[in-house]
């Protein structure tokens, strides 16, 4: 993309994307990670994000949507600043994942794919996240928290609220 082109992304991310499309033998190989990184920065895949990604890769928006809607981590509506993903798959389920998930629902007052009113948290019941031996486990955005019990829930949420506050003051 030429520098004068308008972009939705931060200069750093835009530069990263410029490099990403050159990284592979085929430009389109950048699509899946680009969508994920775009979502990390913008929060979700808006129509505008899809349009820009399509342009950067050189494919149609339809093509981008076909691919984007396939992958479960990609979303088309905003999530919370911290997206809590509770694994309830078998290994986690056996060690109390449903209790954990219920506690998150109670603490946050939201259900599956819900977002708290302040936009701080969203909650998702997810499939196996590859932490079966340290079950039950969750991810908050990309951070893993494992060997949890319902008692850990409020502490985890407090940690992130604190982090948001710290960031807010830092700004």
């Amino acid at each position: 993309m030429s520098p004068e082109t308008m972009t939705l992304f931060s200069p750093k991310m835009a530069a990263r994307f410029d490099a990403l499309v050159e990284k592979y033998p085929v430009r389109r190989s950048a699509l899946v990670p680009m969508l994920l990184y775009a979502q990390d920065e913008i929060g979700y895949l808006s129509d505008a994000v899809i349009a820009e990604v399509a342009e950067r890769i050189g494919i149609t928006e339809l093509d981008v949507r076909n691919v984007a809607t396939y992958y479960s981590m990609l979303r088309f509506k905003p999530a919370g600043k911290y997206n809590v993903q509770v694994c309830t798959n078998i290994s986690c389920m056996l060690r109390g994942a449903y209790d954990l998930y219920e506690r998150f629902q109670e603490e946050l007052g939201i259900g599956h794919k819900g977002v708290t009113r302040d936009g701080m948290f969203s909650l998702e019941e997810v499939e196996c996240i590859g932490a079966c031996c340290w079950a039950p486990a969750i991810q908050v955005n990309y951070d893993f928290h494992d060997e949890l019990t319902a008692e850990h829930v409020s502490g985890i949420l407090e940690t992130y609220r604190g982090r948001a506050k710290a960031e807010g003051t830092a700004r």
Binding site: D63, R65, N66
Partner: protein
């Protein structure tokens, strides 16, 4: 590939090595069911219906992805296979709504047929079904998600077949949906920004994709299905009209490509599929009109209108001579009508003042090919040609079927397409090499090739054989130069792109002031010497006739299915001293100035033949009926009769002295060709008992018109047959009488007068204009 022998269900079969098992079986008459497999499109192996047992292979194999090799053994029907197919159908029916009684596809549904065959009669399913609201994607296309079985035919047809790529699959698992490429302003319903061809609807095996013009109108078994030829462009697609009886005749409810047996194979465009509704237009003429003393056109009986017209024509002919009468024919009427019209003009009206709105210089093409046989290609030849040079034209817009054939040939046969054009056209995406030309640079094309310098020229010149398809940019001398260049090279064949459904037929049938049918000069009429009273002097061309009318030299003008007033921008005053008779479907600008107007049948309401721009002749069958109208053929015969002519001299009906008017011509029979009738007709044995039977005239055309000695058994069997334009003997060449050639340049959604009266085409045009504006705004 070398042939291999393998065994299917105990039968030894032979097929080329590497052929797909499903194709090899189907060729041998062994039907293997499949939803996702579609010949010519990429393989999916998704529906799992075509599973077969291959010896020594542990799992059932999909016949759509298995290629045949020597010595293989297959079983395609067994209890195990039947169970697998039954289970697959049971699984599909789990979420598929059983709304068959109201579904458009009910009765024509592949899922129904397979359920019937494999007997998944009992539903094991006790759960709630997935439901999603139906979506309208365009005026033409609706999508009903729950009915969709995700065979992906539509996606592939749109992408691979049409090169439009407007459909995709989104989400995954049981949430998967087919999705269109554009988002509506509300951000909710997807919209289709595409060519609106409706091919996706055609290939949908179930009722998931339905047509805006047909949905919920009727049941398939309540229609007669009549295969005929599309009335819109010059490609001549076979179209099947679904016709239903109504109070004032019979009504066309649907047009599609039902049996895919025509020259168009799988293809049909938006005009063919949706543009039939002009037939039912409220503005259609349904009664003859005669100008009254107050100067107003008022409805009249046929008898009265015919009498007025005949009396006036006779009066002018007998008083001022045939030279005071002009005749203008049509690009959309049948060959028989065109032939009859010129014969009527020349023998009854005693004039060679006959012409048509020339949109293509076919006369120059015939002149250029004179004496060189087998140098013109049929559309089928193009579909199989290894190398094609497309000079001018924009087939995607103006010849959708040709564009389809070119794309398909490139995609499936790796044909090499070369394009020389003054503008950028979509087919360049399939081209090996492209040569840009200035708008007036077409005449230099042969010189560019001869110089053999550019990559384009080198590639074209390296071809051992070549088909040159050229557009209306080439006229007169340019046509002759291009053809002469090709003839000199050898192994070059040609096609010339024209406009309307029977422009080629109008030219072939001699709607020219100086040329008789088959481009035979009036000065040397040859076999046409049998025309009583034929003048050997060339008549006036269309523009000369109009000029003559303006200067008061033309006492009468008969216009059949043409609108010269609008086409040539004639001032209404120019015709004020001429008695004008018009036969047309609508009250055109020309008809509005006429003294007598006869309401004519459309191509969908009559029988006969038409010739597409590639010289392929096809049978037109009568599908619909509209109260009050008559085919132009019948109007002409009645007009001649009213003038006191023995109509037997015009139409050679009633062989062996058998005469009886059995009413309208044949063609209303629907469905399968009547084999016995086909045989009789093809051997000239079927008596044409009515003077209104155009096929009597076809007999005369075959007898007299060079190049039209057609393969009748194929013609009457519903196939396209070749003409041979290289028949004109060089010795008899004469100037055609030059006149302005005005190409129509109809697009995907316009079709001359007919398009103006088609709400469906107008709506599609608006939708696409809107989509275009939307994407431009993005």
């Amino acid at each position: 590939m070398a042939d291999v022998t393998f065994t299917v269900d105990g039968k030894k079969l032979t097929a080329p090595a590497g052929m797909l098992l499903i194709d090899a079986c189907r060729k041998a008459g062994i039907e293997i069911p499949a939803f996702c497999y579609y010949p010519g499109l990429s393989l999916q192996a998704a529906c799992r219906m075509c599973v077969v047992r291959q010896e020594k292979v542990p799992k059932l194999q999909t016949a759509c992805t298995t290629t045949v090799a020597e010595g293989q053994m297959f079983t395609t029907e067994s209890p195990e296979i039947a169970q697998a197919r039954k289970a697959t159908i049971e699984l599909l029916l789990g979420n598929h709504p059983l709304d068959c009684p109201v579904c458009d596809a009910g009765g024509e549904c592949e899922l129904q047929d397979m359920t019937f065959k494999y007997g998944a009669g009992e539903s094991l399913y006790a759960e709630a079904k997935q439901h999603r609201e139906e979506q309208q994607w365009s005026p033409a296309v609706y999508y009903d998600r729950p009915r969709c079985i995700l065979c992906y035919r539509c996606i592939r047809m749109c992408g691979e077949g049409m090169d439009v790529w407007a459909l995709g699959v989104q989400n995954r698992g049981v949430g998967s949906v087919i999705a269109p490429n554009s988002t509506a302003a509300d951000g909710q319903t997807g919209q289709l920004d595409c060519e609106q061809c409706g091919m996706c609807i055609d290939v949908c095996p179930v009722g998931a994709l339905t047509s805006g013009s047909y949905r919920y109108k009727t049941r398939p078994w309540e229609m007669k299905h009549v295969s005929t030829v599309c009335t819109h462009c010059a490609d001549g697609c076979k179209v099947t009209l679904g016709v239903r009886q109504v109070n004032d005749g019979s009504e066309i409810v649907r047009a599609d490509n039902r049996d895919k047996s025509g020259i168009n194979n799988d293809f049909l465009c938006a005009k063919g599929r949706f543009g039939f509704d002009f037939v039912e237009s409220a503005e259609r003429l349904a009664k003859p009109l005669v100008r009254n003393v107050a100067g107003k056109l008022e409805p009249a009986t046929w008898e009265h209108a015919l009498r007025v017209a005949a009396t006036k024509l006779k009066e002018v002919r007998d008083g001022r001579g045939g030279a005071a009468i002009g005749v203008i024919g049509s690009n959309q009427t049948t060959n028989e009508e065109n032939y009859l019209l010129q014969k009527f003009a020349r023998t009854v009206l005693e004039t060679n003042n006959i012409d048509h709105e020339r949109t293509t210089d076919y006369a120059a093409f015939a002149r250029a090919l004179a004496g060189h046989k087998e140098k013109a290609v049929s559309l089928r030849d193009i579909a199989a040609a290894p190398a094609i040079l497309l000079a001018g034209g924009d087939p995607t817009e103006e010849h959708p079927l040709l564009a389809w054939e070119l794309r398909t040939n490139v995609r499936l046969n790796r044909a090499r397409l070369y394009i020389a054009n003054s503008k950028s056209i979509k087919l360049e995406r399939q081209a090996r090499a492209v040569q840009g030309l200035p708008p007036n640079g077409y005449k230099d094309l042969t010189a560019i090739l001869d110089r053999n310098e550019s990559e384009f020229a080198k590639a074209v010149m390296a071809e051992e054989s070549l088909v040159i398809i050229f557009g209306q940019e080439f006229r007169g001398a340019a046509v002759e130069t291009l053809v002469a260049w090709g003839l000199a090279r050898g192994n070059v064949r040609f096609a010339y792109l024209g406009d309307h459904a029977n422009s080629r037929g109008a030219a072939d049938m001699g709607l020219f002031p100086a040329l008789l049918p088959g481009y035979v000069p009036v000065s040397e009429p040859g076999v046409f010497a049998e025309y009583a009273g034929l003048s050997q002097t060339a008549g006036k061309s269309l523009s000369e006739m109009l000029a003559a009318a303006d200067s008061g030299e033309l006492g009468g003008l008969l216009v059949v299915g043409a609108n010269p007033v609008a086409a040539l921008g004639v001032s209404p005053a120019a015709l004020k001293n001429t008695f004008v008779i018009v036969q047309d479907i609508f009250l055109t600008e020309t008809a509005a100035l006429a003294d007598v107007v006869f309401p004519a049948a459309s191509l969908y309401e009559k029988a006969g033949t038409v010739t597409n721009t590639f010289g392929d002749v096809q049978l037109v069958k009568k599908a619909a009926d509209h109260a009050g109208v008559k085919p132009d053929f019948e109007i002409l015969v009645r007009l001649a009769g009213s003038m006191g002519v023995d109509v037997k001299t015009l139409v050679p009906f009633g062989k062996g002295g058998v005469t009886a008017d059995l009413g309208q011509s044949r063609g209303a029979q629907s469905g399968e060709a009547d084999r016995h009738g086909v045989w009789l007709a093809s051997n000239y044995l079927e008596p044409k008992l009515s003077p209104f039977d155009p096929l009597a005239t076809l007999d005369e055309i075959a007898r007299l018109v060079p190049g039209y000695n057609l393969d009748r058994i194929n013609l009457f069997g519903g196939n396209d047959v070749r003409t041979e334009p290289g028949f004109v003997p060089v010795s008899s060449l004469a100037a055609a009488g030059s006149d302005t050639v005005v190409p129509a340049h109809d697009t995907l959604f316009t079709s001359a007068t007919l398009g103006r009266f088609s709400p469906a085409l107008n709506e599609l045009q608006q939708h696409q204009t809107h989509e275009l504006a939307e994407s431009a705004a993005d």
